[in-house]
Structures are given as structure tokens and as C-alpha cells.
């Protein structure tokens, strides 16, 4: 029978809640840290799945119950590598976003906003991004009922830089 270690359970709860809280932020950097924290939580959970901590690694000969279960360790190792690689990719994406748009904010779906505002785009998607308000917080556009002018836009800022 696997008994749950209270300290570990608390650590897990903190890692998961902090991770998910950070995921809900606008800035990609915070989301990135959220994913890292959440990844730590998942990997720790995977470790704990093998039994309570503080048992010896598989080495030498002894009865099986004295060893830590090696399978979750192998799984966690694989998962750590994958999370690490994808974190790096997300970091590169954030940098590219900063180069192109000058910030790393995760923005709203433009077309959704347009449809919600009952507006038809003039020409292609690229053309009606001019004349936007640079300082507009993308989140406030979601809440406000103002149409086109308040929309968070893409492209125009990137060109300016």
C-alpha cells in the first residue's frame, strides 16, 4: 500500500495551483514559467507514483521492496527532456514575438472580436490593422463593447519597429 506523504501532497498542490494561475496570465514569459512550474508538478507526481520517497535506487542485489521503482524515474526523465525542449521552443517564440510586435503578450483572436462586433473586414485581414491604438490592453477590448477602433491589432506595430 502506498501511503501519501503530506509534505509532498502540499508541494504538489502548490506547484499545480501556481502553474495554472500563471498559465492564465497575458505575458508569454509568465505563461512560460507557469508551464515550467506545472511541468515540475507533473514530474514530481510521476516520481511519487513509484512509491514513497527515500528508497534506494536500483543497484546491487536486495529484495525488490527495498528499491525505489525505477519505471516512474525513467518516465519522469523522458518527460523532463520533453518539457525542457518545448520550453526552449516557447522561449524562442516569445523572443520572435518581441522582435515582431514589440511585446510578448498573448493576444485575442481578432476574427472573433470582429464577428462579435458585427463588422465585416474591409479587404484582406492585413489591411484593416492600420490606425490602431498601440497602448490598448488586449484584455480590455474583450470587456468593452466598442467596435473596431479598440481592437488589439497585429502587424502595424511590427512594421513601425
Amino acid at each position: 500500500v502506498i501511503t501519501v506523504n503530506l509534505a509532498m501532497a502540499v508541494v504538489l498542490a502548490v506547484l499545480y495551483s501556481v502553474g495554472f494561475y500563471l498559465l492564465m496570465q497575458r505575458s508569454l514569459m509568465r505563461i512560460l514559467i507557469g508551464i515550467v512550474v506545472l511541468g515540475h508538478g507533473a514530474n514530481l507526481l510521476l516520481q511519487l507514483a513509484g512509491g514513497p520517497p527515500a528508497r534506494a535506487p536500483v543497484l546491487g542485489t536486495a529484495p525488490p521492496e527495498e528499491f525505489a521503482d525505477p519505471l516512474p524515474q525513467a518516465l519522469a526523465l523522458t518527460a523532463i527532456v520533453i518539457t525542457f525542449a518545448l520550453t526552449t521552443y516557447l522561449l524562442a517564440l516569445g523572443y520572435r514575438s518581441w522582435v515582431l510586435t514589440g511585446h510578448d503578450e498573448v493576444q485575442d483572436d481578432l476574427e472573433d472580436r470582429r464577428i462579435a462586433a458585427g463588422e465585416r473586414p474591409e479587404g484582406s485581414m492585413e489591411e484593416d490593422t492600420a490606425g490602431s491604438d498601440d497602448g490598448e490592453d488586449p484584455g480590455s477590448a474583450a470587456a468593452s463593447t466598442e467596435p473596431a477602433e479598440a481592437l488589439p491589432t497585429i502587424g502595424s506595430e511590427g512594421v513601425a519597429r
Partner: protein, 505 residues
């Protein structure tokens, strides 16, 4: 024969390595891609025949027997889906190669496109074949990591924006999957699917329901099930047409496959699942209504994709042999038709220079071939007889009709969602192909691979699209034998014994 099961995974990953070596020769890269995918299709066909004749083909990796080692299993369902997926991937590759030639010239060799494309195919193959929950996670990661690169290649601001959403959502669902695996291992001490089938059944109902719901949420995000679908219509339309076609055809279906496999094998219910029935209705209706609100052709198709995920969920929710068979047949039909529609949409936008439906018009006169290429898959998607869509929907309706009152009610929603789909595609037809001619919009930047702006098309792009149309017509023509196979596959899934005996011996 059993060693053949490793080839659909090994060939593409070796091909990917080779295309990295030959980064200087565009022709070699193209050849490797086409040969590899044709080879995998052939292997998949052999596996399907073998699995249908003698039961699931199993290979134990490293010679370790089942509960300890990792197994690859090709049963009827996985072999069938592998075959259709690889065939569609091949057609998309031909289309993509010719689009690249049209855009950048014949001699342009790329360092990323071909290797990543083949890696994506590796991930998809592994996801279908693996008999191990953790390998399924790895397969998803290979597939998704490749898709992150494909969706953000040749970045511009809008692609970065949509790519971010896509990567973050996918990573979140992957971490949820990892959590699920950890909880599964903690409660059962195994990650082998066949072994789990027996051990999960011995769990108390509480943990079993928790694990079942966690898998539904995890794979539901990947399959774009409402209310977990928001990322899809936002991210897919911004990618180049072949990439969108590949994603729409394969990625969500792999999610549905994983859902089908885990729900039938690990969490067999005793009757229709109320949760899945409600989710199926929501997905069908919300997706179809969303499609009707769109003005962007690719977004409209993306919402239709979401809507049709609901059809597949419905077959799964019925939870009997007929339902599983209907879902299997629907996946086969939908992989083909959805990929075709996105490829044709790529051709349309390269001709009109816009994705906005109200900016197009009169294409039926100017481009009759294109009109035919759009009309057939559109009617197939809506399920007009005698297309493959009709055959697949009929299978689902029969499953619903022979179930309980609940499934019969949901079957009515299937009909309603089909009609809404028909409305959406007819709306596209009347605005894009009929009506007054509109001038094509000029391309603002011919090298950005964006859907916006007219660009050259070449005959092979039409041939690749036409080939996929032919495949979906062939599915309709071969509906008898094909539905016989999917019915046997559905019976296998519900009975579970063929899979368990093949893996555990």
C-alpha cells in the same frame, strides 16, 4: 510479419534524418519524403490485411514480453487509420512540394520543412500503433512538437499570435496527460494498455471515474471537443494550406483515436455514456453554428471540423460495437474529406487573393475545375448520398437508433448538424462560385506563404487535391467491404479480448 509493425515508425524517422543530411538537394529531399510515405502506406495496407485475416499483429520491442516491455500493436482499427492517414499525408506532401516550387522555385531546398513533415508522420504512426500509455504520450509530443514548428514557420505577427495560443494549449494538455499517466501508474502500477484494461477494472469506482474523466479532458483538448475547442479555429487558419490540411486531417483524429482506444479498452461502460452524449451534441451544434457566423473560408472550415468531431464523439458515446464501428468509419471518411477541403481552399485563395468569402464571386465560370474539386468534398462533408459522408453518417445513425432513447435523441442532432453543415457549404458555394465576378486581390508579399494574396498554382497541386477527392469517392464506392472491416474493428474494440489476447498472450 510482426517486424513490419515497426516500419511505419522507423521509416519516417529515418527519412527525417536523411532529409537533414541532404539539406542541399531539394530533389533528394522530395524523393525521400514521397518514397518513405509511399512505403509506409504499403506497409499499412499489408498490416490491415494481416490484422483483418489473423487478428492483431504485435511486436515486443527489445524482446521484452508485454506487461514489462513496450509493445506495438496493429489491430484492425489502428492499421486502417494508419493506412488512410499516411495516404492523405502523401497527397498533402505532393501538394506542399508543388506549392513550394510555385512560390520559391525548383531549386530551393529547405532545412526544416521535410524533416519536420516526416517527424509529424512518425508521431502519428506511433500514436496509432503503440500499446503503451507512456509511448502514446511520447508519440503525441513528437507529433505536436513537429506541428509547433510547422505552424510557426516563416513567422509573421499573425502567425506568431496564433502559434502561441496553439503551443500553450497543446503544452497544457500534454501536462494534463502526464498527470493522468502519473495517477494511472500510482493506482495500478503499469502503463501497458492491455495490462491496464484488467487492472483499471479492479479499481474502486471513484478513482476509475476520475481517470476516465481526465483522459476525456486531455484527449478532448487535442481533439477540439466543445468546450475545449477554442484554440482550433484561432490557430489552424493562419498556417499555409498544406499544413492546415494535414493538421485538420490528422491531429484531431489522433485525439479521437486515443479517446476511442482508452475509453473502450480501459473504461468500458455498461451502456451509453451520458457525459459523452452531451459533449457530442454540444460539439456538433456549437461547431456548425460557429461555421455559419464566419466570413473567412478557412475559419469556416475549421468550425465545421469542430462540428464533425462531435459526430465521432457520438459513435464513441453510444458505447457498443455499432457505435465504435460508426466512429471508425467516420474517422476514415473525415480525415480524407477535411484535408481535401483545406487543400482546395488553398487553391481558391491562391486564385482570389483573399480568404474573405464576401470578397469572392463567380469562380464557377472562371475556374470550373476548382468548382468541381470544391463541390464534391463539400457535398461529402454534408453527407449527401451517395458520398462517403452519407455512408459514415448512416452507420452512426443506425448505431444511435439501435441504442437507448438518449442515443436516438442525439441521432436527431446528428441529422440537424448535417443540415447545418449543408447550409454552411451551400453558403460558401453561392457566394464564392456563383454571383458577380470579383477582381482577384493582388499579393502584397509573394514569399510569405500566407493565404492572403494571389499566387501561382501548378498542375500537381490540382492533381493532389483531385487524388484525395478520388480517395473519398473510392471510400463511397467500397463502402460495403470497408464498413464490414470497421464493423469487425468495432466488435473487436467492444469485445476487448482479441486485443488483450494478442498482447498478453
Amino acid at each position: 510479419v510482426s517486424t513490419l509493425v515497426t516500419l511505419p515508425v522507423l521509416l519516417p524517422i529515418l527519412g527525417a534524418a536523411l532529409t537533414v543530411i541532404f539539406t542541399r538537394s531539394a530533389t533528394t529531399q522530395r524523393l525521400i519524403g514521397i518514397v518513405v510515405l509511399a512505403g509506409v502506406s504499403a506497409v499499412a495496407a499489408i498490416l490491415l490485411v494481416e490484422a483483418d485475416r489473423t487478428g492483431p499483429v504485435v511486436v515486443e520491442l527489445g524482446g521484452w514480453p508485454a506487461p514489462v516491455g513496450i509493445v506495438l500493436v496493429a489491430d484492425r482499427l489502428s492499421a486502417l487509420l494508419l493506412l488512410i492517414s499516411t495516404a492523405v499525408t502523401l497527397a498533402v506532401l505532393v501538394y506542399a512540394i508543388d506549392q513550394r516550387i510555385a512560390d520559391y522555385g525548383r531549386e530551393t531546398a529547405g532545412t526544416t520543412f521535410h524533416p519536420i513533415f516526416l517527424l509529424l508522420s512518425t508521431g502519428v504512426s506511433l500514436a496509432y500503433l503503440t500499446g503503451d500509455l507512456f509511448s502514446l504520450f511520447v508519440a503525441f509530443e513528437i507529433m505536436l512538437a513537429a506541428s509547433y514548428v510547422l505552424i510557426t514557420r516563416r513567422t509573421n505577427a499573425s502567425r506568431i499570435r496564433s502559434g502561441m495560443t496553439y503551443v500553450i494549449i497543446s503544452l497544457t494538455s500534454s501536462l494534463l496527460f502526464l498527470t493522468t499517466i502519473a495517477l494511472v501508474y500510482a493506482s495500478t502500477g503499469t502503463v501497458n494498455l492491455a495490462d491496464l484494461a484488467e487492472k483499471v477494472a479492479a479499481l474502486p469506482p471513484g478513482p476509475r471515474t476520475l481517470l476516465s474523466m481526465l483522459t476525456i479532458v486531455t484527449f478532448g483538448i487535442k481533439a477540439a471537443m466543445v468546450p475545449l475547442h477554442f484554440w482550433l479555429p484561432d490557430s489552424y487558419p493562419n498556417a499555409p494550406a498544406p499544413v492546415t490540411a494535414l493538421f485538420a486531417g490528422l491531429l484531431t483524429k489522433v485525439g479521437i483515436y486515443a479517446l476511442l482506444r482508452t475509453q473502450t479498452l480501459l473504461f468500458p461502460g455498461d451502456g451509453p455514456s451520458a457525459v459523452l452524449l452531451v459533449l457530442a451534441v454540444l460539439t456538433m451544434i456549437v461547431g456548425a453554428l460557429g461555421a455559419l457566423a464566419q466570413n473567412d473560408l478557412n475559419r469556416l472550415l475549421s468550425f465545421l471540423l469542430v462540428s464533425h468531431i462531435g459526430f465521432m464523439l457520438f459513435g464513441l458515446a453510444v458505447d457498443d460495437a455499432r457505435g465504435a464501428a460508426g466512429t471508425a468509419l467516420y474517422i476514415v471518411h473525415h480525415i480524407t474529406v477535411q484535408a481535401t477541403l483545406f487543400l482546395v481552399s488553398g487553391l481558391i485563395t491562391r486564385r482570389t487573393g483573399t480568404v474573405a468569402i464576401d470578397q469572392m464571386g463567380g469562380l464557377a465560370r472562371r475556374a470550373p475545375v476548382l468548382a468541381v474539386l470544391f463541390a464534391i468534398p463539400a457535398m461529402t462533408l454534408a453527407g449527401i448520398p451517395p458520398t462517403s459522408g452519407f455512408v459514415a453518417k448512416l452507420a452512426l445513425l443506425q448505431a444511435g437508433g439501435s441504442g437507448t432513447v438518449g442515443t436516438a435523441v442525439v441521432a436527431a442532432f446528428v441529422v440537424a448538424a448535417s443540415l447545418l453543415t449543408l447550409w454552411a457549404v451551400v453558403r460558401v458555394w453561392t457566394r464564392v462560385f456563383w454571383g458577380a465576378d470579383k477582381e482577384p486581390l493582388p499579393d502584397d508579399d509573394p514569399t510569405d506563404e500566407l493565404v492572403v494574396g494571389t499566387a501561382k498554382t501548378s498542375a500537381p497541386m490540382y492533381v493532389a487535391s483531385a487524388a484525395l477527392v478520388a480517395v473519398s469517392l473510392a471510400i463511397a464506392a467500397a463502402a460495403g467491404p470497408l464498413s464490414a472491416v470497421t464493423e469487425r474493428a468495432g466488435a473487436d474494440l467492444i469485445a476487448r479480448t482479441p486485443y488483450l489476447e494478442a498482447v498478453l498472450g
